[in-house]
């Protein structure tokens, strides 16, 4: 994606309010709906430099430096100059200046979100706010009530939640000490901050933060000192949101627990939840995803659908709008996985060598919740075809967020009956297909640098040896190890890798499997027999699909699915000898 505009192209103006002068930047056509982005602490409006241009072609984007930050002036004296009431005055002044007639869409991150919660829940802004997208910043009033309910009825779980958040809030206590924070920020901390962000928060080192950081951070400590204690002690009882809210929660946030938002439905009648596997500074680390969600939400509110998301699936908060590519999506586990992602509102690319089956999967995906779905006919073992597919997907649909390398074929028969051609065929699809997928789409993910997830379908045969499946098991064991190695390599880039080991699942892999060393008639018979046995076992592929989505959400490494797969996995670790005994058994075919 090319980004034509940067913050340098923004139109700037100064807005005077309550003794300070705010620096306001505008992008995009002022006739479009206005989106106001409010930054956090210790940041300035440049924290939005990746997101604002992405929104500018659809919306009138407005950013401003909060008082005392960036190029806005600071109140005198500082103490008492940063109360939420005054910040609300600032917001209203900016909103009146940039969009006098129409309500605005608010987006806040960190302290920007804390402020914006205040804007969205006080009476005097009613009718000025059309929607609010909150990231990593709770309402102090809701937070106060959250603490109170936990103190009043301290069940073990609630005490745990309280202690957990209490530990994450260490910096809030530190900021309440006088003078020291200012000294630190103007001294060594200010100098080291960019590197700390890069190292611990995985923020890409691209010229952010700006040189105003030490002053921003020093002034900004008054945000905490002026508001936190008073609000947490006496939270407003009527902090109900008067606009639809989209809550985006990064799950690896070091400063805020996602439990903070558990009771948010009490305060927000129209709440849309989104979750993201990322750390605190998502405007820097996940701009594509955020821009997509903000666009979708603002558009849906403008279009009169304040509830935003229509997908009903269990993980709609996580996969809504994401691009998911599934190979082998024409049947079995692949198809069920495509459907499960579609139900969660993901955009689905269904890849299969059977064009008709892939088209069918795409069509049904659209019916059950995927905003868009496409079918692609590709044989995963064909390197050139896969390269073409990767180019096409990147060009037409975007960078894949979740890749499911699922296509695979079955091959049974003794080692000496398995011909070199048989070996080549099974390795080409089961192993090389996965390699091509990871290589091409994984590289796109890594180059984008905004995280992602790769799921490879291995098998219980990857750790359960069997004299009947030498080639198949070998290929799947390779997939398992490939996944583990790749997981280690991509861990630093926020890309998760999962190996799924299903076990005996009722799919058509049995009726298409090749049985080496027997004639066609006997092969047919064995296919039928094994299909019957798998049918009797009757473990549905939908359950494997659920396991895949769960694994992506939790970032699991190796996921055995069926009970027998889990049992064998345990045995492979604790009683490998018993497993070797089982490997000698003749399958009942």
């Amino acid at each position: 994606m090319t980004v034509p505009v940067t913050l340098q192209d923004a139109r700037e103006r100064r807005v005077r309010t309550g003794g300070v002068e705010l620096c306001v930047a505008e992008l995009g056509d002022a006739g479009q709906p206005t989106v106001i982005l409010v930054h956090g602490y210790p940041d300035s409006k440049e924290v939005w430099s990746e997101i604002a241009p992405r929104l500018a072609d659809r919306f009138h984007v407005v950013l401003y430096d909060v008082r005392g930050h960036g190029r806005s002036t600071a109140p005198r004296p500082l103490r008492g100059g940063f109360t939420l009431e005054k910040l609300t005055d600032d917001f209203l002044a900016v909103a009146d200046a940039v969009s006098p007639d129409r309500p605005v869409h608010l987006v806040g991150h960190d302290w920007g979100s804390v402020q914006a919660w205040e804007f969205t829940t006080v009476e005097r802004t009613e009718g000025r706010i059309a929607s609010f997208t909150s990231m990593s910043g709770p309402s102090l009033d809701h937070f106060g009530h959250w603490i109170n309910t936990r103190l009043k009825r301290p069940t073990p779980r609630r005490v745990g939640e309280l202690l957990g958040q209490g530990a994450k809030s260490w910096y809030v206590y530190a900021l309440h000490t006088p003078v020291l924070p200012e000294l630190a920020w103007r001294g060594p901390l200010g100098k080291r901050w960019p590197r700390l962000l890069e190292r611990f928060e995985k923020v890409p080192g691209d010229g952010y933060p700006t040189s105003s950081l030490p002053t921003d951070a020093a002034h900004g400590s008054w945000l905490y000192r002026d508001n936190v204690r008073s609000r947490l002690r006496r939270p407003r009882p009527d902090a109900y949101a008067h606009a639809p809210v989209q809550l985006i929660t990064p799950l690896q946030d070091a400063f805020l627990s996602e439990k903070l938002y558990d009771e948010l439905e009490l305060w927000v009648p129209q709440l849309t939840r989104r979750t993201l596997a990322a750390k605190h500074w998502i405007p820097r680390s996940r701009p594509d995803q955020l821009a997509a969600w903000i666009t979708e939400f603002v558009t849906s509110v403008e279009g009169g659908r304040p509830d935003g998301v229509t997908a009903t699936g269990k993980y709609a908060d996580r996969f809504g709008g994401q691009l998911v590519l599934v190979t082998g999506a024409g049947s079995g586990i692949g198809r069920a996985t495509a459907y499960a992602f579609a139900e969660a509102g993901a955009r689905v690319v269904a890849v299969d060598r059977d064009a008709e089956a892939a088209a069918r999967t795409a069509e049904m995906s659209r019916l059950i919740g995927a905003p868009e779905a496409w079918a692609e006919t590709v044989d995963v073992s064909d390197e050139q075809a896969m390269e073409k597919l990767a180019e096409k997907v990147a060009r037409d649909y975007g960078v894949v967020d979740v890749l499911v390398n699922n296509a695979g074929i079955g091959l049974s028969g003794s080692f000496f009956d398995t011909t070199p051609e048989d070996w080549k065929k099974v390795l080409d699809v089961n192993l090389w297909g996965v390699i091509h997928g990871c290589r091409l789409f994984g590289r796109q993910m890594a180059e984008r640098g905004q995280g992602g997830h790769i799921v490879n379908t291995a098998s219980a045969a990857a750790y359960q040896p069997s004299k009947a499946l030498p080639a198949y098991s070998t290929s799947k064991a390779a997939v398992l190890m490939l996944s583990e190695c790749l997981r280690a390599e991509l861990a630093g880039q926020g890309i998760g890798v999962t190996a799924i080991c299903p076990g005996f699942v009722n799919t058509n892999i049995t009726s298409t499997a090749h049985f080496a060393g027997v004639d066609a008639e006997e092969e047919k018979r064995r296919q039928k027999k094994s299909a019957r046995l798998y049918g009797l076992r009757n473990y549905p592929p939908e359950k494997v699909a659920d396991a895949i989505l769960r694994a992506v959400v939790r970032g699991e490494a190796v996921v055995p699915v069926t009970p027998e797969a889990r049992g064998a996995y345990l045995m492979s670790r604790f009683t490998p000898k018993a497993l070797r005994r089982i490997a000698r058994l003749e399958p009942p075919l």
């Binding site: 198809r335 459907y339 139900e343 089956a357 069918r360 059950i368 939908e542």
Partner: protein, 283 residues
């Protein structure tokens, strides 16, 4: 009165007129009840509405009492025991799919029908219904080819898998896709056990006995006892598709005769039914 209905099963015979009349009546009932369904109504209430509608029009006996399934119960999600088929207190919500299934006996003629619909728009069920057309054609074609019933069952299964659906008629007792229906002697009062009329059960049992001796079965199932060519008579055919918590079916009578002419050897009792009209309109 388990008739050896072979020679008289020509399209215009009085016998078939009787069956056609009751099948139409049942579909009229389904459409009338479906039109009255509204949010908050329960399956039990919907079943009672069908029962009362048909009783008012002279139905006294049943092959089975009316069923109603709402929401994911249309796809028999988590059905383990047959008792779960009976109507529950599940309430209908906007957009929910529903299926009405009834088998009234009128003047001694039996119908067994299934009617799928949804409260408001349900694109998934629309798609399922549209895809059922291929099954109706496949079943008729292969019955005319006199293929073993078990093989036809497997071919229907295969088509479902290709369409990406789950076979939900497998959840019926014996996994049947169809069963024979016949004329029933009218009694002054008609008992039923577990929702099935005793007269009809008697007919089915006697068919089963005859069939057992002659190597056929009145139940069209995936099992070995259905490994025989189609037996002349009337078959209530009910392919039932399921897709992630949404189900759809139709059920109607297929007439099988012993005629050598393929056109006359098997035909649908009536082509003027809601789902058939719907497919014709869509073209």
């Amino acid at each position: 009165m388990t008739t050896a209905v072979t020679g008289e099963l020509r399209a215009e015979s009085a016998e078939l007129q009787g069956f056609r009349r009751v099948q139409r009546l049942a579909y009229e009932c389904a459409e009338a009840v479906a039109a009255q369904l509204e949010p908050g109504i329960t399956e039990r209430e919907a079943a009672r509405m069908q029962r009362e509608w048909l009783r008012e029009r002279g139905v006294r006996d049943w092959f089975h009492l009316p069923f109603a399934w709402f929401g994911d119960r249309t796809a028999f999600v988590k059905f383990r025991i047959p008792l779960q088929f009976f109507p529950t207190n599940r309430r209908l919500e906007p957009g929910m799919p529903f299926i009405l299934d009834m088998a009234p006996v009128f003047d001694g003629y039996t119908a067994d029908i299934g009617y799928s619909g949804s409260l408001g728009i349900n694109p998934v069920q629309d798609k399922l219904m549209a895809d059922l057309e291929a099954h109706r054609e496949l079943i008729l074609r292969e019955v005319r080819e006199r293929r073993p019933l078990r093989e036809i069952y497997e071919n229907v299964d295969r088509l479902m898998v290709r369409q990406g659906y789950a076979n939900r008629h497998r959840a019926y007792p014996f996994g049947v896709i169809a069963h024979k229906v016949d004329r029933v002697r009218q009694r002054r009062w008609s008992a039923h056990v577990f929702g099935f009329g005793t007269q009809s059960l008697k007919g089915l049992a006697s068919d089963a006995l005859h069939g057992h001796r002659e190597g056929w079965s009145p139940l069209w199932s995936p099992y070995r006892f259905s490994d025989h060519p189609p037996q002349p008579g009337l078959w209530a055919v009910e392919p039932h598709l399921g897709f992630r918590g949404t189900g759809a079916k139709f059920e109607e009578i297929l007439v099988v005769t012993d005629s050598a002419d393929p056109e006359e050897s098997a035909f649908w009792l009536d082509d003027d039914l809601p789902h058939v009209r719907r497919w014709a309109e869509e073209k």
